[in-house]
């Protein structure tokens, strides 16, 4: 294996560790301003919503709302309701995987 690959691994290790550790070390003995705590309480929904939607409405990197081509659309709606009804992440995932497999097979 070339030296370049080891540089990539070590460099990426540092690049991914910094954003993970800095806030922890900075705030571990400090009280966070209440406004920041409140702001951070919206970060989880915002991040997961951004992650989900920048994936499911795109097919091969272009915006696509045609459920026959973009086969992630129907399964995603199903997972949404499954999660809402069952409140169980694992069952919802299984339903989603089954749905996308069926779509892949059918289309």
């Amino acid at each position: 294996m070339t030296i370049d690959k080891w540089i990539i691994i070590l460099g990426s290790a540092i690049a991914t560790f910094i954003p993970r550790i800095v806030p922890m070390l900075f705030f571990k003995n400090k009280e966070m301003p209440p406004l920041l705590t409140k702001w951070l309480s919206f970060i989880p929904v915002a991040i997961f919503s951004a992650l989900v939607f920048s994936d499911v409405v795109f097919w091969k990197d272009s915006f696509n709302l045609n459920p026959i081509i973009n086969i992630k659309l129907f399964p995603s709606i199903i997972v949404f309701f499954a999660a809402y009804k069952t409140k169980n992440i694992f069952i919802s995932m299984l339903i989603g995987i089954l749905a996308i497999s069926l779509m892949l097979f059918a289309v």
Partner: protein, 235 residues
């Protein structure tokens, strides 16, 4: 950490561990294909621990990108961990530096989502159980990606399905976190912003920008609603 904490952590993260099997296999296969040895894959999965990031490393290595451009891409792809780490610290006060070092290394979308849901809805959830859950997830990722790099190109899994495993998990995690109307509005804003930004700037930094702006919208709305409550109380 006690045996019980390890066990409870395991139970709450099992869905993540299972999802990492196909994903880790696919990632290990992809990395092996572009010339990463099984040993280097173990080291990478241990030190980098970023699903999408490691797929990106495979993709960029394949097109011959320079190490510095790959490292920079990985940095921007994972800068969202800055927000996650900040959001988690309020639940992890008073631990040792060693705890923070290990915890930080095991922050990924999936462990963050799982722990935030537990910390906000389960009063029995503790930092130790959270760390145990994270380590289980990390272990599953290391083993699965290593196995993928050993298998090489022999298995043929439809990539659409493999990639969808995490998307399905994220949708379910999102639904569990829609705790109030303001959260719903923040989520919808993030969705619209993420889609528009992805179309316009075509870079993964769009996720971070969308999350930051949407959370600010949530904060402004909640303080407005708070003011409204106060004026009603005053009357």
């Amino acid at each position: 950490m006690t045996k019980k904490e390890w066990l409870i952590g395991f139970k709450k993260i099992i869905h993540v561990m299972l999802s990492y099997i196909p994903l880790g296999l696919a990632c290990g296969i992809a990395l092996h294909k572009v010339g990463y040895s099984p040993l280097s894959v173990i080291i990478m999965s241990f030190l980098v621990f970023a699903g999408a990031g490691q797929f990106m490393i495979a993709q960029l290595t394949a097109v011959g990108a320079s190490p510095i451009s790959i490292i920079a891409t990985i940095f921007f792809l994972n800068i969202r961990h800055l927000l996650m780490s900040s959001g988690l610290i309020q639940y992890l006060k008073g631990k040792s530096s060693g705890f923070y070092l290990i915890y930080a290394q095991t922050i990924v979308d999936e462990t963050f989502g799982t722990n935030i849901i537990q910390f906000t809805t389960n009063p029995k959830w503790t930092p130790n159980k959270a760390l145990a859950a994270n380590i289980w997830a990390h272990l599953s990722w290391i083993i699965s990606s290593f196995c993928g790099s050993l298998i090489g190109q022999k298995v043929d899994v439809p990539l659409t399905v493999v990639n969808y495993v995490l998307v399905a998990m994220f949708i379910a995690m999102l639904v569990e976190q829609l705790l109030s109307k303001v959260h719903l509005i923040a989520a919808l804003s993030a969705a619209i912003l993420a889609i528009l930004l992805k179309i316009i700037i075509r870079n993964n930094i769009s996720i971070v920008i969308a999350a930051v702006v949407a959370s600010t919208i949530g904060l402004i709305l909640s303080s407005k609603i708070g003011e409204l409550d106060n004026t009603q109380k005053n009357k």
